[in-house]
Symmetry: C2
Subunit: 687 residues, 2 copies
């Protein structure tokens, strides 16, 4: 309905004017930096092509989805996920195309586990015969599968799972049984309402050789199990399944609970590439390389590390554009009748956003490096060489912990830096935040898995001490030996003065090495209880992972041939900002480790502020380089054209369904909707 | 529908067993500590009485509300709010009773602004005649009012508001007009769908004396304006109003936008206790004490400080109870077949939760102190003495910033410490988190308002330097003078060695004083630009506010006569944990300020870990002392009886409406709900 607000415009200078000036004042090449970030892998081409197709489909409109209930939102998510698969067939999308479409639509797909853990587990842990049977059914989506490992009572401690798979030698079947409530499967995505099959991880119980009435557990093993009827889609007899209900995020995902009551599955259900049960004798064959079974976990962690950069890039894109446009107060020390300042010009806004702009780049280079390490290690393993496995496992654990923490906290920091409108639905950060908050917990809790880094580094330090007189076998070993030798000579290494970029890297490495030595000393020499050291070990993992981020960023810029001129200059400042800001926040630890000179530490606040002042004019171009499309941002505050206020008003005035209802404000009347008689009792049925 | 899961129980030891042991192992007196926390103000008695009444009303059931859409949830919120007012009449509740009921129901009431800012503004800024007219209408809820100050383009900078109130001397009316889109009122609670009146803050434009065709702005002023028809509840002609749409939280609040098109209001609309316009001459009278106009802001900030303790107490109640019950892994260094450990026994879980348990107590004592300072200052002001106003304003600003940050971040830290189930809807933290995340922004952005603390302290330091030879006029002045004298004599004060609790307090005060001197030096002596100092000033405010929290906690325990024996002993450890944990996180700043000896700083990690080990056995009793009822917690993880897994399963299996729908998983069929033909097109109408 037209009204007098249709012709109103925001006060000047408006968003488009401001962003045009921001983009014009920087000589950083947006396209050059974009090509550097997304070189030959076709990411940007694919993004443009898929986006064009998606935007023609009304079902993918995000305009009002925040208003839907859980049930409605799930229906929408499922309808979209099915349509995406039909479009995959229709447009002959490859897997990368399909993943791009999911990324842009930005719903967690109810088919996600089918496409990831279910098919991966079959591929990696099923025998050839099993694969031949199941893969065609999976790839055609004739069956839909999920991955049911975590239980109500056990997540991290997989060995503690309670669900039992007991071999019945008389019928040659396994009997799945949940002896307790805590044995219920829990959190298993895609299974609550959608899947009809699942990989079910259960404790394998076999009769004890010689005394067949006694059963012995052989630990958790995967089984492929049909759990719902293929026609009625109801759970089979002896199976109880459902969705666990609303969560922080993942609104379109049907995370499941599932219990079994003496439910029989055939011998062929057990995935038997690595371990197996002989059907005639009931004899168990165990895997040759137990570590291989956990390969997919490392793969998932490496992917999470690589993904974090795009999450944070999205948040800083919104925050930088909006805080450039948002104006509040004149400069206190200058003309009080002058124009109000962009809030991004306040150092207190810069200190929250610009280090995160830098962090997105740091995550980018380390994400790439992590992918390369993963690929190289897989190749080693395929050729029978397992030596690099421990390094990759440690690296992926420490980085998963640190990078997801940086991205998750970064989203919220950006949101708060945007003041009131950051709290509104137009920020585009609500769903991103709600979904991403799962990442510090899933695939290895961020605090728990840092033990794996520490254990690896303590082992490395022990080896270095024992072989101190032989040359370093790798970079870490060489660094550790140098540290030990310096320590034996001087009692302590000399603090570093940060006079150049290489020094910054060295300082991070020295601190991580010193903390590794401390941990070695406590655990190996002083035989301290492991659990009593956990906080210290967590700090060690963080220091090591920060050191990787800084060193990788430095190496990427040092060896890069694609950037030049002002773009390269700005990127070096971005590197310094990331490193020095990180160091400032951990100042006392660097000092205690003798890893940096006191004068350099005292200078950090002003160096950081100086770097921010240098980077500030390029802030909009820096975030533009990530080329995150408006459709994905779904943000009034962060849109490319800067029409912040027009978009906020449009969402409120034209798109908000609450405004179509006239409410009755009189407390003495039970009626809620004016003139209809609808009252509280109508809602009671939903409570 | 009964099934085999009805008889299943969690594995042993279950929640009730664990909590019974936790409660039994501590000699801390829960009732003694409760009486100490809530002494004679009747809080606990009122809580029990109101809770008993509320729990009988089905409309207040929280069991399924997470599943509702925004529109449904708003209807529910309005129905509840109306019922609460009817119950107030029926049970003859006083205002404290009503507020308790709201607190327990835990919806942000759509009438909140009517009950707070609307009535407060009338009370404080209306003339006696205006009050006589409006107060009966307000108190009977015959009219419902809101407070419309913030605009789309301006929040913090109130002087930059764009809405105009232009005096028309011919008709003796004001003309409200929104010249731009950014002049739209925005965020104004209770106004989007419910209120029919509002305090509207607009730039007062009056004809220039002598040249009446020219208008001069006299800054923002409040007007009381009817905005909706009393019968149809539609906006009046010339007014556009609506709800701004979904946000992070505040789902039951109708935050508004509102614009005016040359909308005429009578002369009597201007609230004229402090400033007024003479209707015949158009002459302006300005307020005698402009600061008085902002009194209600300080009041609101003081309340936010006081409220923070209950928010954090709620989060730690859930976190402590759940992490005591949750078990994962055996102790790596002991019997691997022994029972799994409570996750609260891991130092890496303790370090996230126990300092927050301590923080809740720190917030409590400072919240009480802030209330006392507010009351004393109001009394001073009523008697015409304005000297304490600046101190109170500074204190409330700094504490609002720090305390809301501690509480908001604390909720999320607790959530992550609870692993997977922390991400679930059974945590009870989702709505708390979503609602509370507004607090770092509202009533003065947490980063912006720290300038007010810094400006106050720089002024105090300047005064101290100028009057160095006269005795201190108050505690701060005396401390500043001592610091200046020591500085002049020795060049620097001696670092403190933290050998007793008083030393800890002194160390915090010394650091805040040193930072205040730095800021004075930069701003007053070196004439640095204010904005260039903002980050430093923010750190100063944080240091000052932390010092207040530590000193107030210390003083409360030192002077307390109500606690004794083990309860008092544990509380002293809780004090030390709060202070030393805070210090460790700011270690380098304390070191740089020479506020603590290096050996003491190096000892902090082990002291903190030792304190946590001492407090750990009392953790459940400590949180029990807050007496937060299960109805308010609404948490499977945090319930008093410890039936965590039974409750999670009940919510999933029996209460989740998604499980009543059977979905069609076949991607080649458009149908979404099995057997009904319902498909994506049915949802399109809501997009």
């Amino acid at each position: 309905m037209p009204d007098f607000t249709d012709t109103l415009r925001p006060s000047q200078p408006d968003g488009p004017t401001t962003l045009a000036r921001e983009r014009g004042q920087s000589d950083l090449s947006v396209d050059g930096l974009s090509k550097h970030l997304f070189p030959a892998d076709g990411f940007l081409e694919r993004q443009a092509r898929i986006l064009h197709i998606l935007q023609k489909e009304p079902l993918f409109s995000k305009e009002k989805q925040q208003n839907l209930s859980r049930v409605e939102r799930f229906k929408l998510g499922l309808a979209r996920a099915k349509l995406l698969r039909r479009m995959t067939d229709q447009h002959r999308w490859d897997h990368e195309d399909y993943k791009m479409a999911q990324y842009l639509v930005d719903d967690v797909s109810p088919y996600f586990l089918h496409m990831e853990m279910f098919v991966t587990t079959i591929r990696e842990q099923a025998s050839e015969e099993q694969r031949a049977y199941w893969m065609p059914l999976i790839e055609s989506w004739k069956i839909i599968g999920a991955y049911a490992q975590t239980e109500l009572g056990h997540g991290s401690n997989v060995r503690g799972l309670e669900l039992e798979a007991r071999w019945d030698s008389s019928t040659k079947e396994f009997i799945l049984h949940s002896p307790t409530l805590t044995a219920s499967k829990w959190w298993n995505g895609s299974l609550g309402r959608v899947a009809n099959h699942a990989i079910v991880v259960a404790q394998l119980f076999l009769p004890k050789p010689g005394s067949p009435e006694q059963y012995v557990s052989h630990g958790p093993h995967p089984f492929i199990v049909q759990v719902r009827d293929m026609k009625s889609h109801q759970p089979l007899n002896g199976v109880v399944i459902g969705d666990i209900g609303p969560k922080y995020g993942y609104i379109t995902m049907d995370n499941a609970y599932m219990l079994f009551d003496n439910f029989r599955i055939p011998h062929s259900a057990m995935l038997c590439r690595y371990s197996s049960v002989d059907p005639s004798s009931g004899t168990y064959t165990k895997p040759e390389q137990p570590a291989l079974v956990y390969g997919s976990l490392t793969y998932v962690r490496a992917n999470i590390v690589h993904h974090a950069r795009l999450v944070l890039a999205r948040a800083v894109t919104v925050a930088v554009r909006y805080t450039a446009i948002r104006r509040q107060f004149q400069d206190r020390d200058s003309d009080k009748n002058g124009p109000e300042m962009s809030v991004l010009d306040y150092p207190t806004v810069q200190i929250r956003i610009l280090p995160l702009v830098a962090t997105a780049f740091a995550l980018h280079y380390t994400g790439l490096s992590m992918q390369n390490v993963y690929r190289a290690t897989r190749e080693d393993i395929e050729s029978g060489d397992f030596r690099s496995l421990a390094h990759m496992h440690s690296m992926s654990s420490g980085l998963k912990s640190l990078c997801t923490m940086l991205a998750a906290d970064g989203i919220e920091t950006c949101r708060r830096a945007m003041g009131g409108h950051g709290f509104g639905g137009g920020s585009g950060l609500i769903q991103l935040n709600n979904d991403y908050l799962s990442k510090p917990t899933v695939e290895g809790d961020n605090w728990m898995i840092t033990q794996q880094v520490a254990a690896y580094l303590i082992k490395k330090m022990t080896d270095a001490v024992e072989s101190i007189n032989t040359p370093g076998t790798d970079e870490t070993d060489a660094r550790f030996k140098e540290f030990i030798r310096a320590k034996r000579q001087a009692g302590a290494s000399q603090p570093i003065s940060l006079s150049n970029d290489q020094d910054i890297v060295k300082s991070f490495e020295l601190r991580a090495t010193a903390l590794a030595y401390d941990a070695y000393e406590q655990r190996v020499l002083k035989k301290q209880n492991w659990n009593s050291l956990l906080i210290q070990l967590h700090k060690l993992s963080k220091a090591q992972s920060q050191s990787i981020l800084v060193a990788t960023f430095f190496k990427a810029l040092s060896t890069d041939q694609t950037l030049s001129g002002p773009t390269k200059t700005v990127l070096w400042d971005v590197f310094r900002l990331f490193a020095l800001y990180t160091m400032e926040n951990e100042g006392y630890e660097f000092f205690r480790c003798n890893a940096v000179a006191r004068s350099s530490l005292n200078a950090l606040p002003s160096r950081v502020q100086g770097l921010m002042a240098r980077i500030r004019p390029h802030a909009v171009n820096l975030v533009d380089s990530w080329k995150i499309p408006d459709y994905l941002l779904d943000s009034a505050l962060g849109r490319y054209d800067g029409r912040v206020y027009e978009d906020l008003y449009n969402r409120a005035h034209r798109l908000n369904p609450l405004n179509r209802i006239t409410f009755n404000p009189n407390y003495w009347e039970e009626e809620i909707v004016m003139g209809t008689g609808e009252n509280g009792r109508n809602i009671l049925s939903k409570l």
